[in-house]
């Protein structure tokens, strides 16, 4: 696509993932749609069980039984990820869309040298780069994430958490994918290291011109890192918009409560928790899943599920479009 509108890197439409248990289907992801723009950083926040990690895993087609992708489309360039054959999907992984999984620092094979694990990823997708050429490529990748090229000869247990995180990053960009999904990439790191690791990730992203989906629950990290933010609740995307506006003027009552519950360096001795509990995904309440906890619920909320609709639109750029799934915001303004 050309023109004023931003180019879309990945378009997700009506994604549904259910886990089939003896007690019924757990609707982990229920109709999630969003566009990821080229080169942008999109955040996905939500509490545990809100479906953010399941969404990420579904895009990588890594949902395991009893989980199943029930429906949806995920258009990445010419590829529709959800309808590829298993072998095609294997080839697409990390070549077109890559993942820094949660806890990547503990996901490296303990008995293989780090360099071999980077090389593995490359060899799985390309014919025959070997020997000296491969070694040079691994070295370059390690330098790219600010690690010494000699790190290739080390075993994971010889590296610190932050270094292993960087190795995960090097693997995720090894094949220059268009989209990188990073699932809580810094949650196990100390704040000081966290900042350094995120700085590296975004520098590398810029050099590759890739788009990033950052999955997490730390609103502070999101505020500092992403361009647009999606808020998930009970398997649904309830709000999506530019991060600054979303934080300053949240549209959805859940987002509003979430933002006001955050600690800041302005208020002391004041706590605003969200009352109530997230709903069961096995037997969600009728209507809007948030209505039992919503202070602004109106009549329709108990019966009708609100769809994600555009609240603030701009013809020029999808980057400033704001969407919310709430009966309080049905009309489009601009």
């Amino acid at each position: 696509m050309t023109g004023n509108r931003s180019r879309v890197a990945l378009s997700v439409e009506d994604l549904r993932v259910h886990y089939h248990t003896e007690r019924g289907a757990i609707r982990a992801v229920e109709g999630v749609s969003f566009d990821l723009l080229a080169g942008e950083r999109l955040g996905l926040v939500g509490e545990s069980g809100s479906g953010k990690t399941t969404t990420a895993m579904a895009l990588m087609r890594l949902i395991r039984p009893p989980g199943r992708i029930e429906s949806g489309r995920a258009q990445l360039g010419d590829l529709e990820l959800l309808s590829l054959s298993d072998e095609q999907m294997r080839q697409a992984r990390f070549a077109h869309i890559s993942l820094i999984p949660q806890g990547v620092m503990n996901s490296l094979n303990p008995v293989m040298r780090v360099g071999a694990q980077i090389a593995d990823t490359i060899q799985a997708h390309e014919q025959g780069p070997g020997g000296e050429k491969m070694r040079a490529r691994v070295s370059d990748l390690l330098s790219l994430v600010e690690l010494d090229p000699d790190t290739a000869q080390m075993y994971p247990h010889e590296l610190s958490g932050g270094m292993k995180q960087r190795v995960g990053m090097a693997i995720s960009v090894a094949l220059r994918p268009q989209v990188i999904i990073a699932d809580e990439p810094t949650s196990a790191l100390d704040v000081v290291v966290q900042k350094r690791v995120m700085d590296t990730l975004f520098r590398v992203q810029g050099e590759l011109d890739a788009a990033v989906i950052l999955v997490g629950h730390d609103m502070g990290l999101m505020a500092q890192c992403v361009d647009r933010l999606g808020v998930m609740y009970a398997g649904r995307l309830v709000e999506l918009g530019p991060v600054q506006q979303l934080l300053e003027q949240p549209l959805h009552p859940y987002t509003r409560l979430l933002v006001s519950s955050l600690p800041s360096l302005d208020r002391r001795g004041e706590f605003r928790g969200i009352p109530g509990l997230p709903p069961s995904l096995l037997d969600p309440p009728a209507g809007c899943p948030f209505h039992p906890r919503c202070p602004e619920a109106i009549d329709g909320c108990t019966t009708k599920i609100p769809g994600l609709t555009t609240v603030v639109a701009d013809d020029d750029s999808a980057r400033i479009e704001r969407r919310a799934a709430c009966h309080l915001h049905t009309g489009v303004t601009s």
Partner: protein, 357 residues
């Protein structure tokens, strides 16, 4: 000097150094802190992993004995308490831990965690009285008995489980609750609720809190005073408002700048007041083991290898805490002219006492 409720006096904790271990790790290096007896306070102990904050918490709880220095409860050293004195200490100094799942025995319903301490410390109560006490304790943290009792831990949310743990501590009529990272393993949306219940019992029941955390924003929200720890050392201590808003120690400055604030107007890496960072923290060690072995190896300031203001003297001697401002001290050679402090003065600073000013 005012009477203290719970006090750590120059406590040092070393691990290892046994017959088969070559390396000793100094987890806490001569830390002093004090909770006053006359009024409830909230003291935060903040630092990254490996800073020694959890070890200090375990020392305060009497779960491990210090290598040197002493822990005192109501003026008496823990190891000198007699049986009944220890029972009083055990009941009155309680804890809430980080992992809200592991603290429940999976074999029992959650009731077990609540009934056990009550029947242990208040054997005179009848069944109904115990039940009443438990229900009242649950109400105090915003839980309803019918929604929580009789369930197994996995049937409750992380927030509910953590608040049950607060209830457990509450049931014993404690004077102090040591909360070791109580919200770091629960969802952001539930953190406020848990911190709120802690804060409420502090206000309503006059319970002092020791809040251990790596998160400066919640420390700021909850506490009156704060200790910043780095590799086993207390590097800065004092009133929370002063320490967070105008940190003196270069490490505290780095830490405050590293907070990702949920505020797009304040860029990450800037001081909260908008000043850009003088320089990034250098590539320091990233693991606990590395950090500790370095800290143990040299006699200099443990932060010297990452400090933007490093001087020759930093490599040679480890600075001790000096009074940089009224009510606040930092351990840094930048403030060499400031008056030195005794352990008692440091201890009173930790609860915002008047003697330090």
């Amino acid at each position: 000097m005012s009477a203290s409720l719970l006090e750590a006096r120059r406590v040092r904790m070393e691990f290892g150094g046994g017959l088969f271990e070559r390396q000793r790790l100094v987890a806490v290096q001569g830390a002093s802190l004090q909770l006053p007896a006359d009024r409830p306070v909230v003291v935060a102990i903040a630092g990254e992993s490996g800073s020694g904050k959890t070890t200090l918490a375990r020392l305060l709880l009497g779960m491990i004995p210090p290598t040197s220095g002493s822990i005192l409860y109501q003026g008496t050293e823990l190891k000198q308490l007699d049986r009944s004195g220890y029972q009083v200490f055990r009941r009155q100094v309680q804890a809430v831990f980080q992992d809200p799942f592991g603290v429940f025995n999976p074999f029992y319903r959650v009731d077990h965690s609540l009934e056990l301490p009550v029947s242990k410390f208040f054997p005179e109560l009848t069944r109904d009285q115990r039940r009443e006490r438990i229900e009242e304790g649950l109400r105090a943290v915003g839980l309803r008995a019918e929604e929580t009792l009789g369930r197994y831990p996995h049937q409750l949310s992380g927030g509910q489980r953590q608040r049950i743990m607060v209830t457990r501590a509450l049931l014993l009529d404690p004077k102090v609750i040591v909360a070791d990272e109580p919200v770091s393993m629960v969802d952001a949306s539930l953190r406020a609720t848990i911190l709120e219940s802690l804060f409420r019992i502090h206000r309503e029941r006059n319970i002092s809190l020791v809040y251990i955390t790596h998160d400066l924003t919640t420390a700021y929200q909850l506490s009156h005073t704060i200790l910043i720890m780095y590799r086993g050392d207390v590097v800065e201590v004092g009133d929370v408002e002063q320490v967070i808003k105008a940190p003196r120690h270069p490490y505290t400055q780095l830490l405050v700048r590293s907070i990702p604030l949920a505020d797009t107007k304040r860029r990450w890496g800037e001081d909260p007041d908008g000043e850009p960072a003088p320089s990034q923290g250098g590539a320091g060690p990233e693991t606990t083991e590395q950090a500790l072995s370095i800290a143990n190896g040299t006699g200099g300031c443990p932060f010297a290898d990452r400090c933007p203001h490093v001087m020759a003297s930093c490599q040679q001697t480890n600075p001790s805490l000096v009074l940089t401002d009224p009510g606040r001290a930092a351990a840094c050679h930048l403030y060499e002219e400031a008056p030195a402090l005794s352990a008692e003065q440091i201890a009173t600073l930790s609860h915002g006492g008047t003697e330090g000013t």
